[in-house]
Symmetry: C2
Amino acid sequence: MTAPAAAAENLIELIARLAAAGRAAQRVLAGLDSQVKAAALRAAGAVLRSANGDILAANARDMTAGAAAGLSAAMLDRLRLDPARVEAMADALEQIAALPDPVGQVIDSAIAPSGLLLSRVRVPIGVIGIIYESRPNVTADAAALCLASGNAVLLRGGSEAVNSNRAIHAALSAGLVSAGVPAEVVQLVPTQDRAAVGAMLAAAGQIDLIVPRGGKSLVARIQADARVPVLAHLDGMCHTYIHSAADPEKAAAIALNAKMRRTGVCGSMETLLLDAQFPASYAVLAGLLEAGCELRGDARARALDPRILPASASDWDTEYLDAVLSVAVVDGLDAALAHIDRHSSAHTDVIVSEDAAACERFLAEVDSAIVMANASSQFADGGEFGLGAEIGIATGRLHARGPVALEGLTTYKWLVRGTGQIRP
Amino acid sequence: MTAPAAAAENLIELIARLAAAGRAAQRVLAGLDSQVKAAALRAAGAVLRSANGDILAANARDMTAGAAAGLSAAMLDRLRLDPARVEAMADALEQIAALPDPVGQVIDSAIAPSGLLLSRVRVPIGVIGIIYESRPNVTADAAALCLASGNAVLLRGGSEAVNSNRAIHAALSAGLVSAGVPAEVVQLVPTQDRAAVGAMLAAAGQIDLIVPRGGKSLVARIQADARVPVLAHLDGMCHTYIHSAADPEKAAAIALNAKMRRTGVCGSMETLLLDAQFPASYAVLAGLLEAGCELRGDARARALDPRILPASASDWDTEYLDAVLSVAVVDGLDAALAHIDRHSSAHTDVIVSEDAAACERFLAEVDSAIVMANASSQFADGGEFGLGAEIGIATGRLHARGPVALEGLTTYKWLVRGTGQIRP
């Protein structure tokens, strides 16, 4: 065996050992009351607050190393912690502690003709792997969501945040243990060797679900390589279609908000479809241009405003995550649906119209995780959807779609209560 | 490119073309009323009945070829059709037509603080691949379940059943088209080249879900190779634990039924755990022995009856699917739970006890898709669970567990209805 192969083998063993320890701890967690889990999360939040100094000192070491390594300003901002960001992490733990516990919820029940009493009851998924990049707050947020849904978690953060993550993890552990939750419910993968990620992705049967948190290249690599199921979205290629019967003021406000409120979020609009019969397209475009958005349009869009640049074929499939927007003029709802069917990443697509029938047809026919009428696509968020938090937004077709929070981190089992029935 | 590589490339293109045609047809299907889908299934059943002669003639050709190829008697029995079996296929189509349509069901809805009206609505998964072996009835059953849940299906049956499957598929197609459903909703992969299965398993993004129907080696191969999500169970390593407080008569009846009613089904008992404090173990074992079941036991079980053979270590993980049973004596509920945790395939596990607290603890702590108290594990079946039918039983932890029927062949999308909301 060559040296790299031996090292990879050791990482496979390491991940197997961590996953087994997580599964054993998860079994203990599954037997704990909701109140104990909530108390553990609150205790973790309290330790996080009191360990503020240690965490900031660890983060300062990461920031120094990151600056020396030439990380971009944007990456350094994601990496940076300050007292307010630590406070926000602790707040998030308390908010998650206050959410209803999905574990044990009865989804449905029935009495079979045989007299058997059947019920489906929510149970944790098991062991969840979180693979993330430079934001240290994911360590606390993801751990809390997994714990609150009864799961064990293996956390693998970015190497640039290693000291921050260790300090946060130590605080979480101390809080959990003080409340009677096994420390192994939340484990940090103790090596920055990149092959550890490969070992996690290959750990089918040991890790039940992988959730990547980070940029497109991370998600693409994980989706390509994983043998473990992955819950994620690769792109947020979101469309807003301004129908002929749209209210002009609402249309302008929604388009501006959907693009410019925050350009870097996955729910931001990337393509604006203007109905050829909508009479106020010029005002919608002017609002975006005046807010500093670069517009790239097809020939008919460019005829509306000379400031619009020509779009290339790839623009219709480009998630800019920036103050850039592609604009096309379409002939009616059918053409809008066809464009969206061809180019959407199935994340969030929006119609703006006062015509209820047009809205309902759009809602029925667009096959995306989230389909909206008369609202900004930037509402695509677990918090806004009343989930209290989110582990991410999923664009796959199985298990959970759209914003995923506690319920999406559970599965179910069938309980069957009989009185001695045998099958004829 | 070598000749085999060129052929594999062509199969990848073939599967991509079939999947694309299926997806286009699925979009049409998604817009059809429940009544149209039900009428199409009834029409398919009627054509199946009237094509009885063609189907039996095609099946006779498969049977002749199978006998010449030396297929086992069991395989030939699975392959064989007769008028009653064709009638049963047509009946199944009518039963599936009568099931409630899951598509469009509102799972839940809420008003967000922003005033947005949120709802989760069931939608079809999309394009489903069914890979199966010699039973021709799967062609009709699986197609009907996929169609009734709004999905397109690619069917890849065993080569030994090729003529039967083509005749059944032709009848289904004629029925669907007569009712206005596109023929491409149900497509038979038109080649018996084994590499076509590989192309289906690799078709991530084109096929949304693979459901294997067949023996363990088929399922194992598919689980190992698939890049598309798979809904399946590999083993039905089912346990029945007779607790100290079990009713002796119920215990004997349940054990006998769980093993011997049909030994070849996935829900049949493979290991019997007898509590050391249960006073009537001898009678339970005698009933099984007298019914012709071979028993393989640990030392304490063998002390109960000299007819029990010694079990080897592998017996505790062996799904016999035959009149063979492994038997262990355990010291109480904790020991039973530990044995099941170590050896269960997470399909169906059962406790027999009149002690309600013991039953509830078993139901809570056993982490299997189906957990039963005081009933035969042979009830593990979609029909018995009131689902009307089943595409299979899943032991994975995501999307759907246990018996899977129409609901498990759907996913959901979020519909968001606003009045012009923008996000602050």
